[in-house]
Symmetry: C2
Subunit: 191 residues, 2 copies
């Protein structure tokens, strides 16, 4: 349970009292693999922090094709930012991939915490900034790199995920079909 406090401590330092208050606002739950934490079309009420296990967010376009936006394993946050912030129905699904322990922080509690502990507003500002930078880089990579180069980057950035995530999901994350990914992988191995 200290994982989330450690995560915060990397960016801002809370007093014991503040830690207590923060802990009183969150909720920890266990989920089996394949549980859907949030459905497209619904309004997202929580931010999720992964204590253990593996979670992903993805959308499904008209052609019934899934596209993975994000993987989150131990120590990562995940959610449907659009829906959470706008309180409108989003188009992301959030699904547990491996049995997981997840911390839930409701939108109301999160906003209360901004008032009660301004340092947490700083924490989430910085978290969001880092996420934005990562998304900008991924966007530029999608515009300028080949599938092979995007896969290389993925391997370097998320070495632990490669063993854990089914390769069709990695294919989806980097933006190719599972068939092409398979072919590409064997082509890369041959070198």
């Amino acid at each position: 349970m200290t994982l989330i406090l450690d995560n915060i401590a990397k960016i801002v330092s809370l007093t014991e009292a503040e830690k207590e208050l923060f802990l009183s606002k969150i909720e920890t739950k266990q989920y089996k693999a394949k549980t859907i934490l949030h459905n497209a079309g619904e309004i997202c009420k929580h931010s999720y922090f992964v204590n253990s296990g593996l979670v992903r967010s993805f959308n499904i376009n008209d052609n019934i094709v899934e596209h993975v936006l994000h993987f989150a394993c131990e120590g990562w946050w995940i959610g449907d930012m659009y829906s959470l912030l706008s309180q409108k129905p989003g188009n992301l699904f959030i699904e547990v991939m491996e049995d997981a322990e997840v911390v839930l922080l409701s939108k109301e509690n999160q906003e209360q915490l901004y008032f009660e502990i301004p340092k947490l507003e700083r924490f989430f500002r910085i978290l969001t900034e880092k996420s934005l930078v990562a998304h900008q880089e991924r966007l530029m990579d999608n515009l300028s790199l080949s599938a092979e180069e995007r896969f290389d980057k993925f391997c370097k950035r998320y070495p632990t995920l490669i063993q854990r995530v089914p390769q069709k999901q990695i294919a989806s994350y980097i933006g190719v079909t599972p068939e092409f990914f398979s072919k590409m992988k064997s082509r890369m191995l041959r070198k």
Copy 2:
């Protein structure tokens, strides 16, 4: 000069004293078209807010191809978030496309303001959240939509830019070559 205060007022409300303090921390400059505000390889010192004119950020990959990350016209913020936050050399260029009046906010002043006016930390948190949501959507669009659909979305989202931005830059923004864009456009007109 009230444009930037209006921009802030849409999200948080400042007292007159706070407005004064904020204004004392920024600097307004005029730039001619084609001026480079920030070079790839350098450390970014400022956030930029566009009062008038038009500014873009882009990178250049190994093959000497430009990719536009962002356009900013009146009332928009622009910068190299990666370089600004990490204080390391980035790989974005920021260039004035039409003669512009730009507000500069240095990183130091921005961070001072977070302490002096916590509401501004809230303002930038929310600004960053909105930007993140927009980037997530653009990323998913790049993964799942055709060039034609991406162009449609661009037209709906930035109707005023279409007249102002050379079409090769729009092509770059949506991720196709100028030649293909030209072909696609005439194909779309024929319908």
